[in-house]
Amino acid sequence: MSPTALPPRRGTYPPSFRTMSSARSSRSILPGFGLSLGFTLAYLGLIVLVPLSAAFLKTAGMGLHEFAAVVASPRVVAAYKLSFGASLAAGFVNMVFGLVVAWVLVRYPFPGRKLVDALVDLPFALPTAVAGIALTSLYSSNGWVGRWLAPLGIRVAFTWTGVFVALTFIGLPFVVRTVQPVLQELEPDIEEASSTLGANRLQTIVRILIPQLMPSLLTGFALAFARALGEYGSVVFISGNMPMRTEIVPLLIITKLEQYDYRGATAIAVVMLVSSFVLLLLINLLQKWSRRYHAI
């Protein structure tokens, strides 16, 4: 229905129900249209649209040269590279492991499955600052995990890997929650037909299952990526925040603000906003695609 930035809730409303009611076309006799729509638009305008437009108006007053000079400066480019690179890597890892987790949760019953299923949403519920200090404590060189990695010469906290670990944590639920409902509704008959026709299990998975899951896998990846790009709280503690090396874009915006460089901060923010909006558009298209895919 709406473009999801959070994974859709599972199994609540049968799809047939939804198409039935949206097929209805009639003029409503219900009251309250003016009041509810008016309030919605006013609230949306005041809280979201007007403040967001402030960012664009601020950069519009900058001039192209100044804008380019800020956005293309080496420190900013390094931050973009880190944010986009680590978010892509985290999104990819979540796509692979998210698929495995969703598969196991849907197909293999095991004791405690409901508990594990509920736990998947933890990164949504846990405040990011708490996640940040917890991960830092785990992966610092004397932490529960870090002390085993240190002798191997692997440092996680205060490196690129640390940023990647934090972004993997916060993106974890997205792929699981987008793939899970699709997996639940898959027809076992198609898989059966495939094996009856002589395909082995691997061929069935690669040729039959993966293509059906692709739209939801990509949607989950895009959602995890979009969330990771803007993430701040869970990253700042573990990244160490060294300019040019482990400084993510949201942190750079805050640094500029603390130096009272409002124009610089806004210019960097506008680039991020435009990337986010493009991603949102892409996610919308992906979801339309996946709905069409599953309508057949």
């Binding site: 219900l30 809280i47 960012a55 197909r107 803007g230 915006i253």
Partner: protein
């Protein structure tokens, strides 16, 4: 289409739960289950366990002292105050938006739905920044606010605004699909039988959406209490005045008071666990009755 028919049919009698052709070999099942559980143990269980372990690392007395310290109490009060303003505001908005979108037809509806989700696509830090651009000392209303001695940025109103922005879509996006699925038949009947608009809403619509609404409130509340990035930009980190709980955690942590930071963090972690429990309970209740 086919899935709707399949669920309407009774389960095929005399069949094994999974057709044999679709069974994965035992080693594959074990391997995949082990991989999934190991991944979740590493990324979900360890972080939550370490929070509580560190919180009590210096003993229960230290934990209590850290939680009862005046600055911690002030942070807890400010967080609760923020939530008490933000959640009701977003509930009223969510209900209004869902009413307009699900009960009426109008042009631009899908654009409106997309715009409601917009705050999810915006980095929390940028959510804070835009309010600084409007209400900050150099912002649009900055000079006027200073002249009238009103503080928005580095004060409570800024924290409330930034939190409202970040949690804006939660209630609406739960209610819109729910109310769309329920359709308008019951409301039509109520109005036809002579109920007023408000009577229809309170007696017909609200009882139908109460669990969805509750679910939205839970999620909105969790995010509002835990928001860090957006609040960090507008708060100014004044101890005992504009520090919310997550900001207090940050300050303690940066002062190397690790046990203190984790003590306050453990309260937030408890909130997260409670949210998951309630959320699962609502979900199981709905799938059970659907």
């Amino acid at each position: 289409m086919a899935s709707a028919i399949a669920t309407a049919l009774p389960a095929r009698p005399g069949h094994a739960p999974t057709p044999r052709a679709n069974r994965d070999p035992a080693w594959a099942r074990w391997l995949l289950t082990a991989v999934a559980l190991a991944f979740l143990a590493f990324f979900l269980v360890l972080p939550i366990v370490v929070v509580f372990a560190q919180a009590f690392a210096k003993g229960g007395a230290y934990f209590l002292a850290a939680v009862r310290e005046p600055d911690a109490l002030a942070a807890i009060r400010l967080t609760l105050l923020t939530v008490a303003i933000v959640v009701p505001a977003n509930v009223v908005f969510g209900v209004a938006a869902a009413w307009a979108i699900s009960k009426f037809k109008f042009t631009g509806k899908s654009l409106l739905t997309t715009l409601i989700d917009l705050p999810f696509a915006v980095s929390p830090v940028i959510a804070g920044l835009i309010y600084v651009l409007i209400f900050g000392a150099q912002g649009w209303f900055g000079p006027w606010l200073i002249a009238h001695n009103i503080r928005v940025i580095f004060a409570v109103p800024g924290i409330v605004l930034a939190t409202t922005f970040v949690t804006f879509p939660f209630v609406a996006r739960e209610l819109i699909p729910l109310m769309q699925a329920q359709g308008t038949d019951e409301e039509y009947s109520a109005v036809t039988l002579g109920a007023s608009g408000w009577q229809t809403f309170w007696r017909v619509t609200l009882p139908n959406i109460r669990w969805g609404l509750f679910y939205g409130v839970i999620l909105c509340n969790a995010r509002a209490m835990g928001e860090f990035g957006a609040v960090s930009v507008v708060s100014g980190h004044i101890r005992g005045e504009t520090n919310t709980m997550p900001l207090h955690v940050e300050i303690l942590y940066n002062e190397y008071n690790i046990a203190g930071a984790f003590a306050v963090a453990s309260l937030l972690a408890l909130l997260a666990l409670a949210t998951l429990v309630v959320k699962s309970a609502v979900e199981w209740r709905q799938t059970g009755s659907a």
